[in-house]
Symmetry: C2
Subunit: 388 residues, 2 copies
């Protein structure tokens, strides 16, 4: 049942090959001081950095660079970013990069004027924002996290071995995001397929919850069918614009709150995956793919009807004359076949997880209660062992 909710998504999206041009109409809306946030320098290799700098200069902005955002942005990096923002009276944080860069920009946005430790307040205690928020804009170079149109922001604390995501409200959503699918062409294949599975996992973790009939599930099925279709084309030809644009758009709509409406949502794959990430620094999407097979086989008996529907609608499994268990199992098998086909990591050992980490990873997995089965410690360890 859809229930009672508010839907508000104020992010303005500029999509397409020429979408960077929209920066010219967005920049004048903000003050002169721009904090330019990016990662390891790949945006320089593809010429994007120079383009953005030229547009910032043409708009008369003072640019304060904040480079070196890592794939799993750390709390120490966040503190540094806050100093840049406060120290330069920043009017706009412009994130140029993938989901981590967007996540980090939002973290700085809410933390710069926080009068206590923002890690404690916004990530450990998950409080609402009650201080000034610096507007964020994004130029996205990777598809996956959906961070370009939501309030999600994941920060990692290596000292405490915690990787925590806070989903902030719509006052923290990027004011605008620029999505040019061509910018994703040069993303390494490993990152591309990890991003694709991040999208798939976002959809799965909302879809596999609840028992009733909800339009969100139908939209999720459409998104999954499109994503599976386009991902197969993209791994054949990474420069297929149509496939990459569909994947980029799917990523946005998989996690911008729409398909969660009326859903309890599961999120355990993300919780376990993030804990693996805190221990190994492995690529986010691969931490999800490595455990998904074992996770879904484990919860299947508790949500069998939904798994049957998943098999039939998303994977075109023919149910005629077969038991629910058989149909549901074939759905998961077809998903696994697709996962192997596009080159996802399906073993946590490959990600650097070692035997001695298992208890810690399970302990660090925040247990959510919206899915078909509320997991206990031993079940999480069991799923990790099955994912070896």
């Amino acid at each position: 049942m859809l229930g009672t909710f508010t839907y508000s998504n104020p992010t303005r999206l500029h999509f397409g090959k020429d979408s960077l041009e929209a920066l010219k109409e967005e920049l004048p809306k903000y003050g002169d001081n721009v904090q330019l946030v990016y990662g390891g320098g790949s945006i320089k290799e593809i010429g994007l950095y120079e383009e953005v700098i030229a547009m910032l200069e043409d708009a008369g902005k003072n640019v304060f660079e904040d480079a070196g955002v890592m794939p799993n942005p750390t709390v120490e990096k966040l503190y540094g970013g806050c100093e840049i923002a406060r120290g330069n009276d920043v009017d706009l944080i412009l994130a140029v990069g993938g989901g981590s860069v967007c996540d980090y920009a939002k973290a700085v946005s809410v933390s710069a004027y926080c009068d206590e430790d923002p890690w404690e307040k916004y990530y450990v205690r998950m409080e609402d924002v009650d201080n000034d928020i610096i507007p964020v804009g994004c130029v996205l170079t990777m598809a996956g996290t959906g961070s370009e149109m939501n309030g999600g922001s994941v920060i990692t604390n290596h000292a405490t071995k915690q990787k925590i995501g806070h989903v902030f409200g719509d006052n923290v959503f990027p004011k605008f995001s620029i999505l040019n699918p061509e910018l994703t062409f040069t993303v390494p294949r490993y990152q591309m397929v990890a991003g694709i599975f991040d999208v798939m996992s976002h959809i799965l973790e909302q879809y596999f919850s609840g028992t009733d009939d909800n339009i969100s599930d139908y939209l999720s099925e459409g998104l999954m069918r499109s994503l599976v279709h386009s991902s197969r084309i993209a791994v054949e030809n990474e420069r297929d614009y149509e496939a990459r644009s569909n994947i980029m758009w799917a990523a946005t709509w998989a996690l911008n709150t729409l398909i969660a409406k009326g859903k309890e949502t599961d999120w355990m794959v993300h919780m376990i995956g993030q804990s693996i990430g805190a221990y190994t620094d492995a690529t986010h999407g691969m931490t999800l793919s490595a455990i998904s097979s074992a996770y879904y086989r484990h919860i299947m008996p508790y949500g069998l009807a939904r798994f049957v529907r998943f098999a039939e609608v998303v994977w075109d499994v023919d149910a005629a004359g077969r038991s629910d268990e058989e149909v549901a199992s074939e759905g998961i098998e077809r998903m696994e076949t697709w996962m192997r086909e596009i080159g996802l990591v399906m073993s946590i050992a490959e990600l650097g997880v070692t035997e001695d980490m298992l208890d810690g990873i399970a302990e660090g997995s925040f247990v959510m209660e919206g899915g078909y089965k509320v997991l206990n410690h031993d079940e999480i360890v069991g799923i990790l062992r099955e994912s070896w």
Copy 2:
């Protein structure tokens, strides 16, 4: 291909049984003078009028009533509404009713400060708005038009026999809309099923265009599957909250620009339907249902592959060992069966169309060019005759 576009939808939606409460948080955002727009008084019968008036009074607003908005709002009514808005320095137009009431509110919103005849400027010449716009909020009592989250506004000029819709930009979208599915329970069945087909037609007219692979088509298929499913439940039990809430949410997403992304879009059924409406004042959704069967059979040969996909994905037609024509035809047959099942009007004669109107209706149908076949006058007359 998704192409280049901007997606921005600033409407804040409050959904659910208790969503009227959200009016208390929305009203303080606007000035004191509120133009209360509604239709023929059904909102008084269900007690909604009293509730809204009480909330407006509690918020200290001066209320200027603008009642009697007709199902097809006229240009004369629009002129009157502009006088109320201008004469009372209105700060917010609050539309309480169905799609026509919302459409009319948006028309007044852009027209009140137009320095020439708004009918000529915004409907006949379709110009962009360059004058002050009065903010609009909606409390929706019917599901169908999608007017609660878009810039669409249809106005009828009986003198010239024109019914014209202008799709305004996001600066004209309602600032907020309140969607309580329970308010739709008391809508007469005829209006309910007409609304359902309006939604279906919005999706169909975006889906049946283009040949390439676009995520919008997958989302459309999900919406159609959900709508067909929920509509069957709603005609059995009009008070099934789950079905009515899914239908209401489908209506919003069928026409809030999302599923048009990357699509050329057809819209000929709406063009012909609106022309029928201008001649007969018939219920909008029924003007669409009455001609859809003949229309889709007429264009099927020109977009056969899409009709085959429609049959398989939306109507679960088994394609094995059959020709594309057979599969596509069975898809349309199943749609017709569903249309009869839920009680739609499938004959223009039943709507009051007479032989002498046919040429005029065809002449008044604005010919769009995004679909599989650009229609000429004789083809439109032919479709009308097939719809007898």
